[in-house]
Symmetry: C2
Subunit: 314 residues, 2 copies
């Protein structure tokens, strides 16, 4: 059994590959909720939705968020009524948020609601939020502290990032599925998907005891670098690393995750960094990590799983 | 200045006619909120919406509710997610409910929110809810007490009505616009539109002191019968009157409103009832009350206003 820790687009792609090669009982997907926010009275969980829509084969490949074939009649009407339209909610996507908000209001946990949504979307593999409690990534910028979506969507990542805070993380408990998977005797590896280390994975690692629990699981922890050839495949990872005074490289990603990880997957473009990664005490795997197609996702999933297997049984 | 008390479809049509012949400062529309309910976490105000959409020229003429040219992508997606779909919310209509719910949650009154929505929809005439406080029409049926929309939409008015209750009415205050209009020295008449007397107008009349205030306004109170030729133009009025053991006739409507009203507008089909209405001490006006077109709405508005003028200055 494998635990996959994921954020949005990049993470969702590898999760999709893992789900294609593993049966449902051999994969536990755990998703960042630091990006979640309440908007227009609705609970919006962007990373969970991206992972769910991707696994359901319904993600919009052009935007990296939302549903394929989406319509925007609600948004257009809201604009005419003078409502907030900086965060785009499609007509079909809206049903997810309305449904989630109703069920949360009725007392269900985010884990329960997510399981229900996955079932309705025909997703066989278990997907859980990292926690049922609110954790909110706050971005400390030159313009003051901003909520994540305020920074990411409304301001289009323009403000310089001075620091990050994961509000609520210290009080949040890992979700039951995550806790249970970490204790599962069948656990063979923990995969940190190629999601933004600072925005998507850090909130999860900020949960109390999480780093220790990942280590104590006694299985290889393998991170796939979202930085390839000194740039982010998608999103503001490179810009943020730069603003935080960090080197924009897969080596810096490995350094960031050290000493948590046993191995790091680098793209062919970063083959020259393998020895430096190795010098950190982290086993490097160099392969193609850019997932442009479903075969790419499956190929990378196979590579990562094979690598993990080799580490677990040397 | 005229006050028009209205419920849904029939009331909205006469309000539309009145708005076509009166300048904005000469009309105050006051709408039933007994049908309002919270659904999918949203505040839905069916009668306010019908009146607003009608005045904006955007009402769906086929359904009698919702917007013309509406799409249903949200509803279809919600159905796929296992959500409640018995109350149909169109993609554009949904923006009204989301906007309203957000602003109410932010502390605005229903009157303020309604005024804002009207402005966005380009409605010049003032439209106010009967009250800012919650009043909920409850239908006592053979199957137990049902919320109004549960009775009206989910059960399609099938259960036999044994009685009605306007929960919250005794604690609710008339909206500021209604109170102010009733005290306005320019007030010339109060028109009770052809809405369901038991479902749409009764909640308004159940507000504390409302009957006395209507009388004390010192102007003619004129009801337009929604019952024509012993049947309701639309909706369950006839069925309910029957179940409550009442005669289904415009005369019964006049009797129901007596002694509140000074005059009652009957359709040509009910000309024979004019003398019986007169015997109640209520002046009858017989004219065409069935509004199939915009000219019909304007014609009836002219008739009602002329009638009121004749009564005010005998």
């Amino acid at each position: 059994m494998i635990i996959a820790l994921a954020g949005g687009v990049g993470g969702a792609k590898l999760v999709h590959g893992l789900a294609a090669v593993l049966p449902p009982e051999a994969l536990q997907v755990v998703v960042n909720t630091g990006d979640d926010f309440d908007h227009l009275g609705l609970r919006v969980c962007p990373d969970l939705d991206t992972v769910m829509y991707t696994l359901a084969g319904r993600a919009n490949p052009e935007t990296g968020w939302g549903l394929a074939g989406e319509t925007w009649h609600f948004m257009e009407a809201l604009q005419r009524l003078g409502g907030e339209t900086w965060f785009r909610l499609g007509d079909q996507d809206l049903a997810t948020h309305v449904r989630r908000t109703c069920r949360l209001a009725a007392g269900e946990t985010l884990s329960q609601v997510t399981a229900q949504l996955c079932q309705s979307l025909g997703i066989a593999h278990p997907v859980a939020p990292m926690t049922n409690e609110p954790v909110r990534t706050m971005v400390h910028t030159a313009d003051g502290e901003l909520g994540f979506q305020d920074y990411f969507v409304r301001r289009q990542c323009a403000p310089e990032v001075l620091g990050l805070r994961y509000a609520g993380a210290a009080q949040a408990r890992p979700s039951p599925a995550l806790t249970q998977a970490l204790r599962d005797p069948r656990l063979r590896a923990i995969v940190i998907c190629p999601s933004n280390p600072y925005l998507s994975i850090a909130p999860l690692l900020a949960l109390p005891g999480m780093r220790a629990q990942l280590r104590q699981a006694g299985v290889p922890v393998i991170a796939v670098s979202p930085i390839v050839g000194g740039a982010a495949i998608k999103g503001p990872a490179a810009k943020i690393m730069c603003e935080l005074g960090l080197e924009v490289s897969a080596l810096e990603v490995a350094r960031h995750y050290s000493p948590l990880i046993d191995a790091c997957v680098l793209d062919h473009a970063d083959a020259a960094l393998a020895s430096a990664v190795n010098a950190l005490g982290i086993a490097p795997l160099v392969t193609g990590t850019v997932m442009r197609s479903m075969p790419d996702r499956i190929q990378l999933a196979h590579e990562v799983l094979g690598f993990a297997e080799g580490m677990a049984c040397p």
